[in-house]
Symmetry: C2
Subunit: 142 residues, 2 copies
């Protein structure tokens, strides 16, 4: 029984299983990155992941962080979130939900899907599928 394991985080074994389930070969670096991501549901950009993974000692390169986040997003392990025009965020919470973006501070919160009520969506054009629907509620100080 490890004492130091993070409250909501997955242990290494669970992370490896998760990667395998999504058809991703679990390498050292990928597991390190995934461990950071799934420590808790969060919104992070590549820079933050890079810093967190290499907090103790330098283990993973910039290129690998970018490649891996892209791979994870493609394989449906995390979700890209577009709210800040200067950088791409990744959301480690894959349960369907929306976002509230504080444009002053850059803070990003989750909004439960029940709070928005999306009605009938238009159909995707011939030969296309809906990849996802992003709802972002932008708020700012009065």
């Amino acid at each position: 029984m490890k004492q130091e394991q993070r409250n909501t985080g997955l242990d290494r074994e669970a992370v490896v299983r998760k990667l395998r389930e999504h058809g991703i070969t679990p390498t050292q670096q990928r597991v390190d990155i995934a461990t950071v991501l799934f420590e808790r549901p969060q919104h992070v950009c590549a820079d933050q992941v890079l810093a967190q993974v290499n907090a103790v000692e330098s283990l993973v390169s910039k290129a690998t962080v970018y490649n891996t986040l892209g791979l994870f997003a493609k394989k449906g392990l995390v979700r890209e979130v577009l709210v800040d025009p200067t950088r791409l965020f990744y959301d480690s919470n894959m349960i369907p939900h929306h976002h509230m973006y504080h444009s002053d501070s850059g803070m990003l919160e989750d909004v439960a899907p029940g709070q928005v009520q999306l009605g009938a969506l238009p159909e995707a054009p011939e030969g296309m599928v809906i990849e996802g629907v992003d709802v972002v509620i932008r708020v700012r100080r009065i």
Copy 2:
């Protein structure tokens, strides 16, 4: 009666009026940029505006295009659209509507607001206002 005026576009006078209505001093450059934007409802990024404004002869600098688009967005003349992680788009159609984004091609279409049916929105936190709600339907080739 000018013969060469664009079909749906505003003439110079109308553009000047529009700028004034939004509290923007109508300078040469701002009118040039606005004329391009309101030639028709469209989604453009700064680079495209720069190219279009300077199509015939170089009239407006890069810095001015960026500053002006930022100003227009702040004053509610155009709307920022975040769909492409590498650049910011501006939508010259201010009638409320949503977007469908073709992630393969980068194409961006309008979706009439009636086609989505957004129900009750969550309230903005204390001391904050909802600036806007962006709904983006991402589609891709099967």
